[in-house]
C-alpha cells in the first residue's frame, strides 16, 4: 500500500499527464494575478466521472458495452402488447427495480487500471492501480458504469451534456475559494471554501474557451447545501483537502435540479503556477441512493437509451459494488468514485451584509404563505 501522501502526489502527477499544465514550481505571489490578500478563486468549467478509457474500450470492456432500455424492451416484448404491460412496466421497473427479476447480462469494467484516490488507505483485490502505478485506487463506480456508453467521454450523452451544462447552466456554477494562502506552490495550511456562483462564465472571442479573470458572485440564498469549508494544504502546487462530506451540485438539464452526496470527499487539485487555471479531481464515496435517484429523476428512459443505460440493471450493479458507508445492518450505502474537474481563475464576490427583510437565513423554516 502506498502511503497517503505518495498516493496523492502520484495521482496528481497523473493528472498532469496529457494536460497543458506544466509541472508546478514555486511561484511568487506577485506573479499571480488572481491572488489578493491571501485569497484566490476558481470556477468549475468541466466535470466528468473518473473513468479510465482505452481508445477502443476493448481492454476494460472486452465483452462490449451494456445494452439499454431499447434493447431490453425488444427482448422482453418482441410482439409488443399493451401500454400497461410494456411501457409502463418498464417505467415501473426503473423506479422500483427490485420488484422483478432482471436477467440481463451486465458488463462491469474490467482490468487493473483506474482513476481516483486511495480512499480507505488499503490495497485490496478490488482496487485499481493508477496509470502511473499508484496502488489502492478506490473507484467501484468505474466498475459499475465504465462499460455503459452513456458515461464514456466524449461521446456518451451524459458526459457530453455534463460538459455543456457545467458551462452553460448557472445551477452548476461551482466556485472554489482558497483563503489564507501565503504561497500558491507550497502552503501547509489553507482554507478551501466551496460555493455556488450566480454569474455566467466568460469566454474568448470564439465563444468556446472559458477564460480566467472574470468575476462571479456567491449565491447564498438557495445554495446553503453546497457551501462548505474544508481544511487543505498545498504541496508543490498540488492542493489537497481533508476528507469531508460534500453535496456536489450537478444537473444535466434545465429545470431538473440535483446533486450527488459524496461522503468523505477530498479534493486533489493541481494549481497552475500563475493561478489562472486548476485541474484535478474530487473523490469520495457517492451515496448510491442519490446517484440512482438522480438518474431516474433527471435522466429519462429515452435519454438512457442513447447510451445503453438500463436503470434497473444499473441499480443492481451500484448496490452490488457499493463499498462504503455501511448502514446498521452492514449494507454498503455508498460507492467509491471520482470526478475529474477543471477550473479557471475567477474573482469571487461575496454578498454584502443583508438587511433583515432579505435575510432568508433569518426566516422561519416554515413561514406563512405570502399573499
Amino acid at each position: 500500500m502506498a502511503n497517503a501522501k505518495s498516493t496523492l502526489l502520484a495521482g496528481a502527477a497523473l493528472l498532469l499527464a496529457g494536460t497543458a499544465l506544466s509541472a508546478p514550481a514555486a511561484a511568487e505571489t506577485t506573479d499571480i494575478v488572481g491572488l489578493k490578500n491571501g485569497t484566490i478563486g476558481f470556477v468549475l468549467t468541466s466535470a466528468a466521472w473518473g473513468l479510465h478509457q482505452t481508445p477502443d474500450g476493448k481492454t476494460e470492456c472486452p465483452e462490449g458495452y451494456n445494452e439499454g432500455p431499447r434493447e431490453q424492451f425488444r427482448a422482453l416484448f418482441p410482439k409488443g402488447g399493451t401500454v400497461e404491460g410494456t411501457q409502463l412496466e418498464r417505467e415501473s421497473a426503473s423506479r422500483y427495480p427490485m420488484d422483478k427479476e432482471d436477467n440481463f447480462v451486465y458488463r462491469e469494467a474490467k482490468g487493473q487500471v483506474g482513476l481516483g484516490m486511495n480512499l480507505d488507505g488499503k490495497v485490496d483485490a478490488n482496487d485499481f492501480t493508477s496509470p502511473d502505478g499508484v496502488k489502492g485506487i478506490d473507484n467501484q463506480l468505474y466498475r459499475a458504469i465504465g462499460c455503459t456508453r452513456l458515461f464514456r467521454a466524449p461521446d456518451g450523452t451524459f458526459a457530453n451534456f455534463t460538459e455543456m451544462w457545467v458551462r452553460e447552466m448557472g445551477f452548476n456554477r461551482i466556485l472554489v475559494e482558497l483563503t489564507n494562502v501565503d504561497n500558491l506552490a507550497n502552503d501547509g495550511d489553507v482554507q478551501v471554501n466551496l460555493y455556488r456562483g450566480k454569474d455566467k462564465l466568460i469566454t474568448d472571442a470564439t465563444g468556446k474557451n472559458i477564460i480566467a479573470g472574470g468575476s462571479n458572485r456567491v449565491e447564498d440564498r438557495f445554495s446553503k447545501r453546497f457551501t462548505k469549508s474544508l481544511k487543505g494544504k498545498i504541496e508543490n502546487g498540488i492542493l489537497t483537502t481533508e476528507a469531508a462530506d460534500v453535496d456536489w451540485v450537478w444537473s444535466v438539464f434545465y429545470d431538473h435540479p440535483g446533486y450527488y452526496g459524496i461522503k468523505q470527499a477530498r479534493l486533489q487539485i493541481n494549481l497552475a503556477p500563475h493561478g489562472d487555471r486548476a485541474e484535478g479531481m474530487i473523490a469520495g464515496y457517492t451515496n448510491v441512493d442519490t446517484f440512482y435517484q438522480q438518474l431516474v429523476r433527471a435522466w429519462s428512459t429515452h435519454h438512457s437509451s442513447y447510451g445503453g443505460m438500463s436503470q434497473p440493471s444499473l441499480f443492481r450493479a451500484l448496490n452490488r459494488l457499493a463499498d462504503g458507508m455501511p448502514d446498521e445492518k452492514g449494507v454498503m450505502t455508498a460507492i467509491s468514485s471520482s470526478i475529474n474537474l477543471k477550473f479557471v481563475q475567477t474573482f469571487i464576490e461575496h454578498p454584502a451584509p443583508k438587511v433583515a427583510a432579505t435575510d432568508s437565513a433569518a426566516r422561519p423554516a416554515v413561514e406563512p404563505a405570502r399573499r
Partner: protein, 452 residues
C-alpha cells in the same frame, strides 16, 4: 394534458391576488379588479372575450367556453397536431400508441379502450354556421365531415369538456413543458393592450410584465403617481424603462418626463424599471430588495392560506403547512391525439406506474395527497377542494368509503413526496417519463432561480 405551470413561475411578497372566499362550488372565476386590458380586434358575433384567472383575457364562445388551438408540433419521432388551416382532431377513436416519443415503439394498445374518447370528444371543434364569414383574424375551414370550423390566425379552434364556467382554462395554460412535452393545446388569449416594447408572460403567480427582451419589469413603493423617486444612485441598480420620442400613452399606460428629454413608462401610474443586477430573463431577484416588486397585469388567485413557500436548491417552491414541497402530476399519452392522462377521469395506470410501480398502496405511501382540512373550502376555479377515490384518483362522492378531500390546482390533485424530509427538499421533482414532461411528478416551483 394540461400545462398547469410555466417553467419559471414567480412568487414574491404580495404576488398573488388576495382571494375572497367563494361558495364551495366555485361557480365563477375569481378575477381581480386590476385585470389585464386587451386590444379590441374584429370578432365574429359568436366569439367574445372572457377573463380567465391565469391567462388573462381569452377568446370564448357565447356560452363562455374558452377557445384553444393545437399547433402542429414536431415530436421525437414525427409530427402531429393541426397543420395550419386543417384539423387533425377527428371523431375516430385511437386505440394504439403512435410512437411519437422515444424509446417505446408504436402500436402499443392504449389503456381502458372501452372508456376512451375520440379526440373530437375531448377537444370539441368550434363549429360555425354554414353561412358564417371570416372576420379579421378569425377564419373558417371545412372539416372532413363537411362542417365548418372557426380558426384564429389559421389555427383550428376547439373547446374543452373540462371547462365548466366562463373563463375556465382548466385544459391548458400558456406555457410549455419544453421540447419533450406533448403536442399541447394552447389557450387563445386576446391580444394584450400593451405598448410596443413589452410582453406579458403567464406564470403561476400571474400575468408577469416583461420587456420585449424578456427582462422583468419592476415597480417601487417609493415612487409617486407618474413620478419617479429613483435618483442617480438608484438608477445604477434600477434602470428606468424609457419611452421613445414617438411613444404614446394608452389606457393604463402613461409616460412622464423623469428628467429633461428622458421619458419613462408607467403602468397604472407606477413608474417602471428593470433591475440591472438580474442575472437572466424573467427574474424575481429584484423583488428581494425591500420596496420593489415585479409588475403584473393581472395577479393569479392565491393558494390556500395554510400553504407555505420554501427555499430549495433551485428557487422557491410551494409547500404544505409542514413545509413539504407540493407536486402536481403531468401526463399525456403517446397516441396521435396526444390526449391527457393526468385528469381525474384518466386511466390511473399511468400515474400508478410512476408513483408506486403499479401499486396503489405504495403510491399512497410515497406520494400522499395534499389533504384539505375539514374546514377547507374551494377558493377559486384554480384552487379547489375535490373529493377523490384514493384508489383510482377519480372523483368520488363526499363521504364515500375510501374517499379523501384533497387540494387541487386547476382540477388536478396535489401531492407530497416522502423522500422529502426537510422544508425545501424536492427529491420527487422530475420523477417520470421524459423527466416528468410526459408522465410524472413535478414540483410546484414558484421561482426558478437557475433555469430561466
Amino acid at each position: 394534458m394540461r400545462h398547469i405551470l410555466t417553467l419559471a413561475g414567480a412568487l414574491a411578497v404580495g404576488t398573488f391576488l388576495t382571494t375572497p372566499v367563494l361558495a364551495a362550488d366555485a361557480a365563477r372565476s375569481v378575477i381581480p379588479a386590476e385585470r389585464e386590458e386587451y386590444a379590441r380586434v374584429p370578432m365574429p358575433a359568436n366569439i367574445h372575450v372572457e377573463y380567465s384567472e391565469l391567462d388573462g383575457p381569452v377568446f370564448a364562445t357565447p356560452e363562455g367556453k374558452t377557445l384553444y388551438f393545437w399547433p402542429h408540433t414536431t415530436m421525437r419521432n414525427g409530427v402531429t397536431a393541426d397543420p395550419k388551416n386543417q384539423s387533425a382532431c377527428t371523431n375516430e377513436k385511437t386505440t394504439h400508441t403512435a410512437g411519437l416519443m422515444s424509446p417505446y415503439p408504436p402500436g402499443l394498445e392504449l389503456p381502458e379502450l372501452d372508456k376512451r374518447k375520440s379526440c373530437a370528444e375531448v377537444w370539441i371543434p368550434y363549429v360555425a354556421a354554414d353561412d358564417a364569414k371570416p372576420v379579421g383574424a378569425f377564419g373558417l375551414i371545412t372539416r372532413k365531415d363537411g362542417r365548418k370550423q372557426w380558426t384564429y390566425d389559421e389555427h383550428a379552434l376547439y373547446t374543452s369538456y373540462l371547462d365548466k364556467v366562463p373563463g375556465d382554462v382548466m385544459a391548458a395554460t400558456t406555457g410549455n413543458m419544453g421540447s419533450d412535452g406533448p403536442a399541447a393545446r394552447e389557450v387563445v388569449t386576446a391580444p394584450s393592450a400593451i405598448p410596443p416594447g413589452f410582453l406579458v408572460y403567464s406564470s403561476v403567480s400571474g400575468r408577469q410584465l416583461l420587456t420585449d427582451k424578456n427582462l422583468s419589469v419592476y415597480v417601487s413603493d417609493r415612487d409617486g403617481s407618474n413620478k419617479s423617486n429613483c435618483d442617480a444612485a438608484c438608477t445604477r441598480e434600477w434602470a428606468p424603462v424609457t419611452a421613445a420620442a414617438s411613444a404614446q400613452a394608452q389606457g393604463e399606460w402613461s409616460i412622464f418626463e423623469r428628467s429633461p428629454g428622458v421619458r419613462q413608462w408607467a403602468f397604472r401610474k407606477k413608474p417602471l424599471y428593470t433591475h440591472t443586477l438580474d442575472d437572466g430573463i424573467r427574474s424575481m431577484q429584484g423583488s428581494d430588495v425591500p420596496g420593489w416588486h415585479n409588475a403584473y397585469t393581472q395577479k393569479a388567485p392565491a393558494p390556500p392560506a395554510e400553504f407555505t413557500v420554501q427555499d430549495s436548491i433551485t428557487g422557491t417552491v410551494l409547500a404544505d403547512a409542514k413545509g413539504r414541497t407540493i407536486y402536481y402530476y403531468n401526463c399525456a399519452d403517446d397516441s396521435v391525439d396526444q390526449l391527457a392522462c393526468d385528469q381525474v377521469d384518466s386511466p390511473p395506470a399511468y400515474r400508478l406506474a410512476i408513483c408506486g410501480g403499479g401499486q396503489v398502496e405504495r403510491c399512497l405511501r410515497d406520494w400522499p395527497y395534499v389533504e384539505a382540512g375539514a374546514g377547507a373550502r374551494t377558493l377559486s376555479r384554480t384552487w379547489q377542494v375535490l373529493t377523490i377515490d384514493t384508489k383510482t384518483g377519480h372523483l368520488a362522492e363526499p363521504g364515500s368509503p375510501g374517499s379523501l378531500r384533497v387540494w387541487a390546482y386547476k382540477g388536478q390533485p396535489l401531492y407530497t413526496n416522502t423522500n422529502d424530509k426537510d422544508p425545501g427538499d424536492l427529491y420527487g421533482h422530475g420523477n417520470g417519463e421524459f423527466i416528468a414532461n410526459r408522465n410524472g411528478f413535478r414540483a410546484f416551483i414558484l421561482r426558478d432561480e437557475f433555469s430561466r
